[in-house]
């Protein structure tokens, strides 16, 4: 019982960063109706910016975080310009495959520049874990949770209380109608990509700082976690992304504790598959019909 609660606590904290990753993903999907497979790798590029700053200039966590965000945004804009902006309306798969090609490109570019298998990242906290009765809470996990919640709140504020947020929600609701009310959709999409990359970058920094390392595999990992959390929570839903992330975190930590790392990954995919077959809209998403990208 104690284990379950401890795991759930840990799961919530780790899940908060999954939620952030899913948030970025869902914003991009919402405005583009297409999946950006290079999302995780863009964040990884940001991570490499960060590690360079840390390794060679001894920068502190805040500076490194900014570098990660900056790198992710630059990579994100690159992906948007190459894989999404030039594509005509019906070329949904072409965009996705293109983003996959750039995923591979970014991964190899990172390995070329920084060839080692792993690079260090500054820690979020170096104090001992806090104790709440029988439960242990790592301080860096706590910082991650607080930052993630703050970021999610900021995104929510931006979406619901700014003019740009209104434009975004309009595009998500109906791209054609958004054009008709005079929204400059192309610019809005580009800015959304930048914003989503920034959010992803922040999430990436938090995860990497807790892990204290960045590897080239981080790209795929981030994409998968973000994707699974997004689908469970509901495609195109902002609160869904957060909920999906938390749920995924809880399920993962518990699975790993009781059954080991392979079962942990297996369970995540089984949950995803089950959701897709039984309730594709996820927990909080809209019914699939209107939100789908056009076929082939």
């Amino acid at each position: 019982m104690i284990d379950l609660v401890q795991n759930t606590l840990d799961g919530v904290m780790i899940g908060s960063s999954y939620g952030l990753l899913a948030l970025g993903f869902t914003l991009i999907f919402g405005v583009m109706r297409r999946l950006d497979l290079a999302y995780g790798p863009s964040i990884m590029i940001g991570g490499y910016f960060g590690t360079v700053l840390y390794l060679y200039y001894g920068a502190g966590p805040l500076a490194v975080a900014s570098a990660v965000v900056l790198g992710a945004v630059i990579a994100g804009i690159y992906v948007e310009r190459l894989c999404f902006a030039p594509m005509k309306a019906g070329a949904a798969i072409a965009s996705m495959v293109s983003s996959f090609a750039i995923w591979m490109q970014l991964e190899q570019a990172a390995i070329l520049v920084l060839p080692r298998h792993t690079y260090p990242f500054p820690p979020l906290a170096t104090v001992a874990p806090l104790e709440f009765g029988p439960f242990l809470v790592r301080v860096d996990h706590l910082i991650m949770l607080v930052c993630a919640l703050a970021l999610a709140a900021a995104v929510h504020l931006a979406l619901y209380h700014t003019r740009f947020g209104l434009a975004l929600r309009a595009i998500i609701g109906s791209p054609v109608a958004a054009h008709l009310v005079g929204i400059n959709v192309r610019t809005a999409v580009l800015l959304t990509f930048a914003g989503a990359s920034a959010v992803g970058g922040a999430a990436g920094f938090l995860v990497l700082a807790v892990d204290q390392q960045v590897t080239p595999m981080f790209g795929m990992w981030a994409t998968l976690k973000g994707l699974i959390a997004m689908m469970i929570g509901g495609l195109g839903s902002v609160p869904g992304a957060v909920v999906g992330g938390l749920l995924l975190g809880i399920v993962e930590v518990n699975s790993q504790w009781y059954f080991g790392p392979q079962i942990r990954d297996l369970v995540a995919y089984v949950v995803l598959f089950a959701f897709l077959v039984v309730r594709p809209r996820g927990l909080l998403g809209r019914a699939p019909e209107p939100a789908m990208p056009p076929k082939a």
Binding site: C83, G90, A92, A101, W103, D265, M292, P293
Partner: protein
């Protein structure tokens, strides 16, 4: 022919099966990131048949194809209601589940004092059939390409047949197809089954070609690559995915000097290509024009060979 070339060509041949598998599903309008799962199932099944059960290669390949085809049919049913992105992600989830299951899969028996069989993450070694039966690399290459040729023939005939037209109709507009009286659900499951079988044949061949398979090989990268081949080479004809495989493995494998930059170049080229040709090099328009050109040429050839001795009609 030197060993290196045989190796590259064998690789191209085997991977083509997975590429064709993803292509077939694309025709019906569905994106699959998961055909590598059936490649894996075919590989393991065929490998177990020869290495553990002592079957012949032919029987093993059929077995591998049947198991993967069956698995594809099984998965095809629950995912029927899914479309577009949802279907794509479901295939991805399924493929990863299969991969992880193979990481946990242990089935070993003792043969001549040695433990043979799949051993979880360590993989499945000693699929030595072709060595034990003195089949050299070149002969195996011929086997791969004969099977590939047969598959291609099947696909090309399919494209001209009513079923092929039905698949493309479903790909264009499912509702419309349904209204024409086409049992869309059953046809899609059929397509999934054929696609799975294709990948399974490739998998069986792959296992015997490399004599060693491990779950790590059958990852998302392989899946998305298979999809990409069709998209690069072109979705207008079954030759499209083959062209895509050729371009990736053939061209870039041979530019050894650029090996370290391969993905950077290839990735960039693919992205640029897809901007101008979102349906690949040999897309439907090109194939149509080639078809027209071919008909004109053969009509001209027939007319000139039919020229009578006189000038009368």
């Amino acid at each position: 022919m030197d060993d290196y070339l045989i190796g590259v060509l064998s690789n191209i041949g085997v991977i083509s099966f997975v590429a064709l598998s993803a292509y077939l599903l694309l025709l019906t309008g569905e994106i699959s990131f998961g055909q590598q799962a059936f490649f894996a199932i075919g590989a393991y099944a065929a490998g177990i048949a020869t290495a553990l059960w002592g079957w012949s290669l032919a029987a093993a390949l059929v077995w591998g194809a049947a198991v993967s085809g069956g698995a594809a049919l099984l998965v095809g049913v629950p995912t029927l209601r899914l479309h577009g992105l949802y279907f794509a992600i479901a295939t991805l989830a399924f493929a990863e589940m299969v991969r992880i299951l193979f990481e946990l899969f242990r089935y070993q028996i003792s043969i001549d004092g040695e433990l043979i069989g799949p051993n979880g993450t360590d993989g499945f070694r000693n699929i030595r059939y072709i060595f034990d039966h003195n089949i050299d690399a070149f002969q195996f290459l011929l086997l791969i390409y004969s099977l590939l040729a047969a598959a291609m023939l099947g696909l090309l005939l399919l494209e001209r047949s009513r079923l092929g037209v039905i698949f493309r109709m479903i790909g264009q507009d499912e509702t419309l197809a349904e209204l024409q009286g086409i049992p869309v659900a059953r046809r899609k499951v059929l397509a999934a089954g054929i696609a799975g079988t294709l990948a399974g044949i490739g998998g069986g061949l792959y296992a015997h070609l490399t004599t060693y398979v491990e779950p790590r090989i059958f990852d998302i990268m392989l899946g998305v690559h298979s999809l990409a081949y069709g998209l690069i080479g072109g979705l207008g004809t079954a030759f499209g995915p083959l062209l895509g495989v050729l371009i990736d493995i053939g061209l870039l494998e041979s530019i050894r000097a650029l090996a370290g930059y391969r993905m950077i170049i290839f990735g960039g080229l693919v992205a640029l290509l897809l901007i101008v040709r979102p349906r690949g090099l040999l897309d439907e328009m090109v194939v149509h024009k080639i078809g027209r050109g071919w008909r004109r040429v053969s009509l001209w050839a027939r007319r000139s060979s039919l020229k009578p001795r006189g000038n009368s009609a």
